[in-house]
Amino acid sequence: MKSTLARVIAFFLFFSTLSGCGYNSIQQNEEAVNHSWGDLESQLQRRADLVPNLVATVKGAANFEKETLTAVIEARSKATSIQLKPEMLSDPAAMAKFREAQGNLSSTLSRLLVTVERYPELKANQNFRDLQNQLEGTENRISVARQRYNAAVETFNFSIRQFPNSMTNSLLLKLKAKEYFKADEAAKAVPGVKF
């Protein structure tokens, strides 16, 4: 009888120390980071998927300047060629490269939308307006996903630095802090859309 009780207590002790040291919560927080990164990536992909349609529609407009379009196409192919696996989220250089490629696509896209202002027949085109609407929605989703990713990173980074988790991490898990996905200044200007 006594030994059963001792065993039960030992059982709970084992689990409580394991969770008390943050082993589980660190894992959980890392999963949350990976999950929110996946969401962010799928929104970025969604934007990249809209670009060919947008370019095709704009191309139809009489003598639309070629350089703007070429810049968008190039930025898109560069942005889609750089992928960032969840394991690479702690790598500042890889993240900077990824961010730069995506930021470049953002800024060329907003330049394209500004240029369109000079083409009234294009602005009146229903197809173009629909695309612009979708692009706007996607940019908003990206910004929501980015905020959630950054919040998850903050929680994770804090959880591996907080005592006693910091000891668990340095002894057992050896996870590195994740990188934030900051918006660059150029990309911050969400395409201004006036109807």
Binding site: F12, L13, F15, S16, T17, S19, G20, D39, D130, N133, Q134, E136, G137, T138, N140, R141, I142, S143, V144, A145, F195
Partner: protein, 233 residues
């Protein structure tokens, strides 16, 4: 004295950084007309319509009007409200928030995850541009809200069915025992955890759901991801 002053200043500083953005208002019902834009008869009519729609299909549509956004982009404010109110049913994420800022002349439809398929950005954009904005431009706010609500209902109709009441109450009775067992284990575990890490890790349970005075209307736990569309008049 100086210490009190310091605390007050510190509080002010932290609060001003945290609350630089406009605060999320309380959810008081299906129609939260904080900017007094909707007349009483229109309000009653829309409330009945929304209530009936939720009863039939479980989709929750909520209206919020605010006097001003105080410089916030409507998209930022809107997602914060949606995250706080959790409109829509948990699991279905079928909530829609129609948000209007009176003095900024801005309107946005924020769409929950579960309705993004039917109420796409495009559809939401068209509802804003073609149903709401023309009426608002003419100064007919009741008309704009009413047409907007009807269009949102029409667009989201048929995506979900409300669960029958009896089903919802008697949901898997065998689960309850399991829940109690887990609760007991959890309490014991928390006790030991507190015992060893006295003070770490906050209270036993998280905050409960919110309720309100409009026949106990509250968000059902729906999630949002920034879908929808904005416009201005």
């Amino acid at each position: 004295m100086a210490a009190i002053l310091l605390v007050v200043i510190l509080q002010f500083v932290t609060f001003s950084t945290v609350w630089a953005a406009i605060a999320v208002p309380a959810l008081t019902g299906r129609i939260n007309d904080n900017a007094a834009m909707i007349s009483a008869p229109a309000r009653v009519e829309m409330e009945a319509k929304l209530k009936q729609f939720e009863a039939a299909e479980s989709n929750q549509i909520v209206i919020l009007t605010v006097p001003s956004l105080q410089g916030d982009p409507i998209e930022d404010f809107s997602i914060r409200v949606a995250e706080a109110w959790k409109i829509g049913q948990k699991g279905s994420d079928n909530g829609v928030l129609l948000i209007v800022s009176r003095d900024d002349h801005k309107v946005r439809i924020e769409v929950g995850y579960g309705l993004e398929g039917k109420l796409t950005d495009l559809t939401a954009g068209r509802i804003v541009r073609e149903e709401i904005v023309p009426a608002f431009k003419a100064g007919q706010f009741d008309e704009g809200f009413s047409r907007g609500v009807s269009a949102i209902i029409a667009a989201t109709h048929g995506e979900y069915k409300a669960k029958p009441k009896a089903d919802r109450n008697g949901e898997k009775p065998s689960m309850s025992l399991l829940v109690i067992i887990f609760a007991v284990i959890y309490l014991i575990y928390q006790f030991f955890r507190r015992f060893f890490w006295g003070g770490f890790g906050g209270g036993f349970f998280g905050g409960g759901g919110s309720s309100s005075n409009d026949d106990n209307f509250s968000g059902g736990g729906g999630g949002f991801g920034g879908g929808g569309s904005s416009g201005d008049w």
